[in-house]
Subunit: 455 residues, 2 copies
Amino acid sequence: MLTPKLQTLHRTVNRLFRRNAVQPLTNLLQKSHVADLGFLLPHFSETEQLGLVAHLKDEERRAQVLAEADKDVASRLLGVMPPEQAVELLQHMEPDDASDLLQLMDEEAAESLLQLMREGRDVVEELSQYDQETAGGIMSPRFFSLLGDTTAGEAIEELQRVHDDLEMVFYVYVVSELEQLLGVLSLRQLVTTKRDTKLIDLMTSDVVSVTPDVDQEEVAKIASRYGLLAVPVVDEANKLIGIITVDDVIDVLREEATEDILRMAGAGDDLAESDGLFRSMALRARWLFVVALGGAACAALLATYAVRIDAFIPVVFLVPLVLGLSGMIGLQGTTVVMQRLLQGRLGLKLASHVLRQGVAGMLLGVVFGLICAFLYWIWIANSGTPGSLDPLVASAALGLAVCGAMAISAMIGAVLPIVFSRVGIDPALSAGPLGTIVVDLLAMLAFLAIGSFWL
Amino acid sequence: MLTPKLQTLHRTVNRLFRRNAVQPLTNLLQKSHVADLGFLLPHFSETEQLGLVAHLKDEERRAQVLAEADKDVASRLLGVMPPEQAVELLQHMEPDDASDLLQLMDEEAAESLLQLMREGRDVVEELSQYDQETAGGIMSPRFFSLLGDTTAGEAIEELQRVHDDLEMVFYVYVVSELEQLLGVLSLRQLVTTKRDTKLIDLMTSDVVSVTPDVDQEEVAKIASRYGLLAVPVVDEANKLIGIITVDDVIDVLREEATEDILRMAGAGDDLAESDGLFRSMALRARWLFVVALGGAACAALLATYAVRIDAFIPVVFLVPLVLGLSGMIGLQGTTVVMQRLLQGRLGLKLASHVLRQGVAGMLLGVVFGLICAFLYWIWIANSGTPGSLDPLVASAALGLAVCGAMAISAMIGAVLPIVFSRVGIDPALSAGPLGTIVVDLLAMLAFLAIGSFWL
């Protein structure tokens, strides 16, 4: 899934590596965007990755490429390069990136690298105390804050003085002598006002801020709802301790979308390879076990009804078909309602949405019930009537059973996310294995009950 | 899923409405953030929605709340309010928001509102010509551009002159006399340089830009990869025609995540209600039909093998169990590989990933095969041996069949997204109904083949 531009870059770098053409390689790497190089890094072998990093112009650029690369790959590279070099790179990174990479390395290696760090060690250590998925874990401790009685002119001079480390300056935070957050103003406000205006008269004091323990998903929601380019993080005493910039917010949104999809498949919620084969197997086994229980319940249901139904054998062959149709229509209702719920878009019309799903399920149930009845009728007409039943009655019973199972599934599927969120289970799980089993069992029960009643 | 703060706001507004307390309501609405009001809007009934909008201070604020609200709700409100009022609101909105809302209304109503617009009509009409899901559909035609020989000082003065319409100014775009995009500089660069520096000497000429036909997902990827706060849009002649700001990028990312999840459930890719019950039914019926075909194939498979297997009845009861386990493990492999593929994170290790999924599937297959064999053994030991088989042999055969079906499913599941993307099908579909059926059928085949070979 590389863009043509990245494919060309990848091929060219590969070719220059093979030819050992140092100068052209250095030139090419110098001309390329660090984001592109970081993105491509995992597409090379480890030796090539080390070579690529070594051919970059300076520590600054090396650190940038590593910070842009996949975190698993970057932390592994830091582990295999000479410690002095790894430390040099960590010191040139944003502290939050450095802290993330160190947390992915094994503890001993991370500790020894930390010991070697001459500058920024305190900051990195402070950051590592926060959970990686909270505001504290993704914030950067580098922000631009000034006292309230600073004038706009002084602020601009100050901005000229601070070196380029603060690359993402959009807002100026106004703080008290105790570094408590008082207000905020945009760079644009600063520029377009008179030079002797005091910041305190210019700022908005209605600042949206978060504490470091707030979940990163919540931070992303706040930033996106209020259209903020950076969310300030304050401690209990309202002291400004960091900011979360919009690029981190975007990363969070991408991560969370992946998490939701993996959760739906009962495949854990993390793509990290460092977790190891057995941990990921254990995560999956949990859900497979739930599925197995559901399957065993289905088998018991089938065995119970088997005694009663005369024409059972051909009906039992249709079980995968019925489960497939009900599962699908249930999942469709679940995902639609779940997504609306997660976006807070259900509002007043909760009941109407669920009803809508039920109606759609019933109508589709009629369509597919007819199709199934027709196919079944052809089948038994050809292979002989099962038991002593009239083929038409048997087909009609089957069609009705399919229709009933689908209608029930659609309704249950639509209600599930709401029930899940009311009892405090993550609604994303309703579209996952747990929801599937509930729908499957109820559909099976409806199918067998309706079918055996008629036959 | 409302935050406590929003819940309180919702309740208070409701209470003030019931009491018809106009002044307190107006005060409360004035104090609240437009983003909060917009978010809450769909949670009120239509009459209340109209009342809420009417109680807002001015047109500016009304337009902002409507622009922040759910697009379906906002466009419906515009349709029910008096046309003069709707036009007034549209004129106070960002042109891209106005264009979006008009596109959601029915064509006649939208056309008559457009005719009534005195200002901004050209811009809105121009924007409506682009597909809503492309760069042209989400761009804003309001940006800050200046000629290259402008000095930094003049640029700052110009910035003070332009009124507040350009709320999201982060970059100054440098253009030629023909409005062609030459380069870009940040507001910070502008502020921290000498006032007589010319923009052309200050700008970066290596600008990432897109054409209006680029897919919005691609725009979001570019913005997030290069950490851009705004992506400029240029036409074929490199003339700057709009910018896409980071808040729109965030909206796109959220939309696309929803789309992927809905697609996985074969539920279309849109939550829009305006699509109507029948259109959404038709979308779903397509996938249900595919599922039905798969189910019919399963039934045929079962019927074919039924003749051969002596102990068939109890084995057939286990079909839902086997399908559940194989489907789950296949989906787990599919989603993991699919997500890595979509993130471009597969790199060199394609084969190793697929292999890993296969190994995990085999090992989990052994575990669950043993569990199934054990349960089956208890069952037939209690209810009598089926046919003339030794219970131990029958159980072992079943366990082996489960293990084989799961191993095959895990492998196929992991390969599917890669095959799909190679033949040009959206890999997200591999985790959807299409992938499920392929996995189900192959698992069924493996299960029956292994089972019947032994029995």
